[in-house]
Symmetry: C2
Subunit: 167 residues, 2 copies
DNA sequence: CTGTAATCATTCGGGCTCGCACGATAGGGT
DNA sequence: ACCCTATCGTGCGAGCCCGAATGATTACAG
């Protein structure tokens, strides 16, 4: 499977901007998350982007809504869903109420692949070297850094409570 | 300049993997860093990748070495340097000792653009909402999480001491 | 009921990133 | 000298990602 390692990921390793050493550590941490996700995706025969879509399709969604869940723009959703549809993991159904919209939903095989993905995601998850107390501290610090600075904490990266347990 | 907002960035917003809420916060934090860098790049007429190259070219480097600094693979360096060379910000000189290698160095205009970039990077840097103590704690926690888990701290994202002050 | 504005998905063009496969050169061993 | 291997940069193909523009449809105003 050649471990495709994420496709078009982070293109930037910016400056310190007055934070000696902090920036690289943050990038290293997210790189770990990306690597784990990409490896899990590859293990189930998907690219990261495709896995992201499959992961978010527990419930069906329109293209727009799926884009929101995946944190990317509509044209990209069209692209990824095209690939998944070719593979038969997903299909586009017309939405009864609205003839513009299309509803994307997993096929039977898609659900199977999603289950395999979730299973693989659960093994050896990254950032296990932290105690619960450390995790809490880390969360607090990151939240503080974010909303003291730009917007109200995240906004862009939908934290939406903690509704992101491994399911 | 349309605020190109980074080009081919993060394509993945992975799972919680047992860390309720931590993962999204990490992604949100690096998203801030990316946004700040991309905005600074755009302000100086560059894309993020191009700015990354210019930033790393304080000292000349071969393509390979530049790739290491930019944290990307050689074909990508070729691509980015091509664009920069077309713009006249960079030139490829033959390396005296080795006829395979090429040395990439900033032109005069390249140095000017780099100076402008550094200047722009210094205004309103992200993650300012943290005290020095918080910063230290955050650094400690991230380092611990990283080397308890995968490799020896970073390795991939070259922290190389703290030699990354705004210069 | 008709015209205008908003929304949906897509297409198009362009930039970023990688793996693989070259051709060219360098270096080590024989 | 000679070959065998490693390294350097690059071309190619493919995938990811976005902003702008487009055609279809819906929603709203008058």
């Amino acid at each position: 499977m050649t471990e495709r390692e994420t496709g078009g990921r982070r293109g930037v390793v910016p400056q310190g901007a007055g934070l000696p050493g902090l920036t690289p550590l943050l990038y290293a941490a997210t790189a770990r998350l990306d690597a784990h996700f990409a490896a899990s995706a590859a293990a189930t025969g998907l690219t990261s982007a495709q896995a992201n879509a499959v992961y978010e399709l527990a419930e069906p969604a329109g293209m727009r809504e799926l884009g929101r869940r995946m944190c990317c723009e509509p044209p990209n959703v069209t692209f990824v869903v095209d690939r998944l549809e070719e593979r038969g993991l997903v299909r586009r159904a017309p939405l009864p109420g609205d003839r513009r919209a299309k509803q994307v939903l997993l096929t039977e095989e898609g659900h199977a692949v999603r289950a395999a993905l979730l299973e693989r995601l659960a093994v050896e998850p990254p950032l296990r070297g932290l105690s619960d107390a450390d995790r809490r501290t880390l969360r607090t610090l990151l939240a503080r850094a974010l909303d003291a600075d730009g917007g109200p904490a995240e906004a862009a990266y939908a934290v939406t409570s903690d509704a992101r347990q491994p399911e």
